[in-house]
Every structure is written in structure tokens, then in C-alpha cells.
């Protein structure tokens, strides 16, 4: 019998207790054994550095000389830092645009890929190709592709008489451009959804067809719920990841001598980019650590909220806790 509603289980009638649920020692034993590598990894490679970075956030540290304790000064300074506010703005815009589009687009494409159409292997590979290109090369590619006159994006738009924005130099279009570039590389997400969709037992569909369900009903009542655990995964990962977006903006805007540092009017000054600059460009590593921890708290709260919402819409096979 369930005692409390447990996150991760959809609403189902309480299952009959199985006889081996009494073997809790065995479960506990194996449970801990199996997570030993991960636990050791955390303790060894993460805990120390994480605590160190928290400590650093209360210091002034320019890397070259030793850290100097300054208490909450970094955090206080953050609130008055216009660039910090700007970086939050920029990042939120990106997250709001990227996460929904990434989820919907990759899921839709995965649905298409799941079909057994002739030549589907080729299509799948074609669609996966972009996410394989190294970041450095993709920066070169996109600087070319988003050329306002001759790039393959704007040229057809112009020919059709549609508006053709200056993707990389118009402050209003920089974030959408970066979202666009990120979406181009969503092959991995499609891959994960594909595996999930393919994993839905065909017998479920057969049973539904017998009941006379059409394609939309099958999708809504079988495919979506059965893959919801993976959708949830992607949602969490995308949220966590997009708050920390860095790589694409870094290679596009920072590493080219002729390009501006973070877009016109700092339109591409992502949170982690600004943090990175503080840490290594301006020698304000303590300040950067403070920034990191603020972000950490925000992400953690948001993730916790999402996990809490799980029970409303995510379906798991596991019963019990």
C-alpha cells in the first residue's frame, strides 16, 4: 500500500504488495553498491571543487594572487551591475524561446523518423548530421549562412519578397539566430525521442486499434504518455542546459577578431559568457563564482518545481517509491 503520493507515479490504484518487498535489506544493499561509482565520482571530482567555488564567491580573487575574504560584497555588487541584469535578460529570452521550440520540434521530427518509410535510414542520418559538426567549424558555417545578402537563409527570403533580417548584427535578431543555430543541432534530442517512441510496445497500439482509435487518439493516449518520462528528461536537461548556454555564442562572437565582443548592445551577453569573462578576462574570479551560485540556486528551484509537477503528467511503470 502506498503511504504518500510519490513523485514519479501517475495516479493508479494501489498495487498489491509483492512478497519481496519485505526484502528491503537486499534492495538497500544492492542499491548502494550500484551507485558507488557515481557516488565516489561525486565526492571526489565534484564536492571539493564545488565547496571551493562557494568559498571563492565570498572572496576577491584575481587568480594571480591569493584570494582575499570580502564577505557578501560580491553578491551586493551583483545587484547594482547593469551588465549582470542584461545577461539575465538575454539568457531568459533564450531559454523561453529555445526550450519549447526544441522540445516540440525534436519530438515532431522524431515522430516522422519513427515511421518505416523507405529510405528512412538516410533521412535520419541527414537530419543527424548537423549535430555532429564541431563547434568551431559550425561558427564559420553560420557566419556564412546568416549573411544578410547572399546567405542561403536570406537569399531565398529576399527572392520571395519576405523580410530578411540582419541576423547577426541586429540586436533584436541575435537571440532568435542563436536559437535557430541551436535547433539546427538538435539531432541528439531527436535521437533520444526516437529511441523512446520506438520503445512503445506495439501491442498497445494494436489493442487501441481494436477499440477503433484513430491516429490522433493513439498519439494522445499512448505515444505521449508512454514517452512522457523521456520528455520530462529532455525538458529538465534543456532547461538546465539553456540557462548555461555558452559554446555557440563564445565561438561566434568572442573568438573572431573582427566580430564584436557580445553582439551590438550586448545582445548576446549570456549569463555564463559574462561569468566567463569576469573569471578570466577581468580577473574577478570571486565575483564570477558569486554569479555561478546565484544561477545555481535559480536552476535548482526551477528544476525542483518541474520535478514536483511530474506527478501530474509523467507516467512511469515503476510502482512503489
Amino acid at each position: 500500500m502506498q503511504t504518500t503520493a510519490v513523485p514519479g507515479t501517475a495516479v493508479r490504484p494501489a498495487p498489491k504488495p509483492r512478497f519481496w518487498q519485505r526484502l528491503s535489506f537486499e534492495e538497500t544493499f544492492w542499491g548502494w553498491i550500484f551507485i558507488i561509482p557515481a557516488l565516489l565520482g561525486f565526492l571526489f571530482f565534484h564536492l571539493g571543487p564545488v565547496v571551493a567555488s562557494l568559498a571563492l564567491s565570498f572572496t576577491s580573487y584575481d587568480i594571480i594572487s591569493a584570494p582575499r575574504w570580502i564577505g557578501l560584497a560580491n553578491y551586493q555588487k551583483l545587484v547594482t551591475d547593469d551588465l549582470w541584469i542584461r545577461s539575465i535578460e538575454v539568457t531568459l529570452r533564450y531559454v523561453a524561446l529555445f526550450v519549447p521550440s526544441a522540445l516540440i520540434a525534436s519530438y515532431a521530427i522524431a515522430m516522422l523518423m519513427a515511421r518505416n518509410i523507405r529510405g528512412i535510414n538516410i533521412y535520419r542520418t541527414m537530419w543527424y548530421l548537423p549535430s555532429v559538426v564541431p563547434v568551431v567549424a559550425s561558427a564559420v558555417i553560420w557566419r556564412w549562412a546568416l549573411h544578410p545578402e547572399f546567405g542561403p537563409v536570406n537569399y531565398p527570403l529576399k527572392v520571395m519578397g519576405l523580410p530578411s533580417p540582419r541576423w547577426l548584427t541586429d540586436p533584436n535578431w541575435i537571440i532568435p539566430s542563436l536559437v535557430f543555430i541551436s535547433l539546427w543541432g538538435l539531432g541528439n534530442t531527436v535521437l533520444i525521442f526516437l529511441a523512446a517512441i520506438k520503445g512503445v510496445s506495439p501491442s498497445l497500439y494494436e489493442a487501441a486499434e481494436v477499440d477503433g482509435a484513430g491516429p490522433w487518439a493513439k498519439f494522445r493516449n499512448i505515444t505521449l504518455p508512454m514517452t512522457s518520462s523521456i520528455i520530462f528528461f529532455q525538458l529538465i536537461i534543456n532547461v538546465i542546459g539553456s540557462f548555461q548556454v555558452f559554446g555557440v555564442a563564445y565561438v561566434l562572437f568572442v573568438t573572431q577578431p573582427s566580430a564584436s565582443s557580445a553582439g551590438p548592445n550586448n545582445a548576446a551577453l549570456f549569463y555564463v559568457l559574462y561569468m566567463f569573462r569576469n573569471a578570466f578576462g577581468y580577473f574577478r574570479n570571486g565575483y564570477a563564482s558569486a554569479m555561478a551560485w546565484v544561477l545555481f540556486v535559480v536552476i535548482m528551484l526551477l528544476t525542483w518545481l518541474l520535478f514536483y509537477s511530474q506527478r501530474k503528467w509523467v507516467y512511469y511503470e515503476t510502482e512503489g517509491k
Partner: protein, 280 residues
């Protein structure tokens, strides 16, 4: 019949989207490949040159002069194989535990491991680097391989979600037969998760193949460079020549094995989970 027409329309629509989208996906890659056959100042010509005339096949030969491709390839393969094996091993174990086994502190542990994703990497860059220096691992492959054998939060999370979709009845049946946990893990969970495990392998492969930030910081000696680092090093700076065309060559070459691997791996997750005669 209405349904048949629906299916036909659906299929046509699917083909259309897949083809158009696929071509759109391919275009930048095609430009990449064609740029690998140009001289550097031709790459940014406008209007763009799609088929260089004449194509500089010698780029592919010359790049070997400047970049010890085979050595870097060997390094990259070594790191990728070892790291991928490690992460599949350690993550699947942990994921099974989080997905199926019940013990006190489980959810707290999971939250802790997941939380390591939430702190930006730049925050711990310096302490981690110092840690590796103290261990004497800087200047070796160790920082790129060893941590994978101790779990990766994303793959643990992913596999946990997948494992949770495996019907309990299978495990129940095995438990009735008296199977131990490790046996269940090896003989039931893993085989049924071929798709998910393949995904993890592909993800890890891709990450290790293309990652340049970590190798850049930790490898430090040209002998140990990976392909991605070799690619990065070709970017020109003030005082140097312009080697953008070699960047294109390296990128094109680097992409090929991964694409081939992906193409071959597709079969694994197409087949999905096989249920042997159990009703849902």
C-alpha cells in the same frame, strides 16, 4: 476509405517535411565540404561558390603536413572508447539503482547527482584544475577518461528514465525465480535497453570526439592532442597564416566516422524493446 487516404496524405506530408528539412540540414554541411576544397580567400566569396573550380584536392594532402592526423586520431579513439565504456558501465549501474531499487536516501542521492549539472562549469574550472594538477594528471589523458568511470549525471538521468519504462512484470517474474539483483540487471534490464544504451554510446562518442575545451586545458602536449584540438589549433591568429580551408578539411574528416557510426547504430534503436509474450 477515409483512413487510407489519411495515411497517404500523412505519408506524403512526412516525405515532404523530411526531404525539405533534410536538404536544409545538409546545405551548411555541403558548403563545409565544398569549402574544404577551396583556397582560404575563396571561402568567403560572395555570391558563394558552391563547387570550387578547380577543386583543391591537395588540401587533403597538405593538411597531413601540418596536422599529425593519425596520431590525433589514435588519441581520440583511445579516449573515446575508454570514456564511453566507462560511462555506460557506471551510469547504467547507478541508473538501475535509482530507477528500481528502493532504499533510504535514494532520492536525495539522485538529487545531489543531478545538481552537479546546475553549477556552470566555469565556476569549478579552477578548483578542478588544481585538483588534477595535484594528482599529477595534467598533461595526460586521465582527466578525460577517469571521471567517466564514475558516472555522468546526464546519462544516469537518461537511463533512469528509460529503465522506469520497463514493465515491472518482467522483473517480478525473475524475482519469483529467485534471481539476484545483478543477474536481473544483466539479463533483463540491459538487453531490453539496447536502444537507450545505444543512445548513450552515441552521445558519449560524439561528446568525446568533438570536445575541445577539456582537452585544451588538460592535455597540453601536442603529442596528446585529439582531433578536435588539432582542428582548434588551425584557426589563424595575428601573425599566422590563414588556414580556414584546413579547418574545413579537418571538420569534414572528423564528421565522417561519427556519421558512419550513427548510420550503423540506427538498427539498434529501431528494433526497440522486445516484449516476450506479456500483455501490457
Amino acid at each position: 476509405m477515409g483512413i487510407k487516404q489519411q495515411t497517404q496524405v500523412g505519408r506524403f506530408f512526412a516525405y515532404l517535411v523530411l526531404t525539405l528539412g533534410g536538404l536544409a540540414m545538409l546545405t551548411p554541411f555541403f558548403w563545409l565540404a565544398s569549402s574544404s576544397l577551396k583556397a582560404p580567400h575563396e571561402i568567403y566569396r560572395f555570391p558563394p561558390v558552391w563547387i570550387p573550380d578547380p577543386p583543391r584536392w591537395e588540401n587533403y594532402v597538405e593538411v597531413f603536413q601540418y596536422v599529425p592526423v593519425f596520431r590525433y586520431l589514435g588519441n581520440t579513439v583511445l579516449i573515446t572508447v575508454l570514456a564511453t565504456t566507462g560511462i555506460v558501465f557506471s551510469s547504467s549501474l547507478a541508473a538501475y539503482s535509482f530507477a528500481r531499487l528502493r532504499f533510504r536516501g535514494r532520492d536525495a542521492m539522485f538529487a545531489v547527482i543531478l545538481s552537479t549539472l546546475m553549477l556552470p562549469f566555469a565556476a569549478t574550472m579552477i578548483p578542478v584544475y588544481i585538483l588534477f594538477v595535484k594528482l599529477g594528471w595534467v598533461g595526460t589523458f586521465a582527466p578525460l577518461i577517469v571521471p567517466s568511470w564514475f558516472g555522468g549525471p546526464i546519462t544516469i538521468f537518461l537511463l533512469r528514465q528509460f529503465f522506469r519504462t520497463i514493465p515491472m512484470e518482467l522483473e517480478d517474474a525473475a524475482r519469483i525465480d529467485g534471481a539476484s539483483r545483478p543477474r536481473i540487471f544483466l539479463t533483463i534490464i540491459l538487453p531490453l535497453s539496447r536502444a537507450a544504451l545505444t543512445v548513450v554510446v552515441v552521445l558519449s562518442l560524439l561528446h568525446n570526439w568533438n570536445d575541445f575545451m577539456a582537452p585544451l586545458i588538460y592535455l597540453q602536449k601536442r603529442d596528446l592532442y585529439t582531433l578536435a584540438l588539432g582542428l582548434n589549433a588551425l584557426q589563424y591568429l595575428e601573425g599566422g597564416r590563414d588556414w580556414t580551408h584546413y579547418v574545413m578539411v579537418m571538420a569534414t574528416m572528423m564528421v565522417t566516422p561519427v556519421v558512419v557510426a550513427y548510420f550503423l547504430a540506427q538498427r539498434a534503436f529501431v528494433e526497440g524493446i522486445v516484449l516476450t509474450g506479456l500483455k501490457g
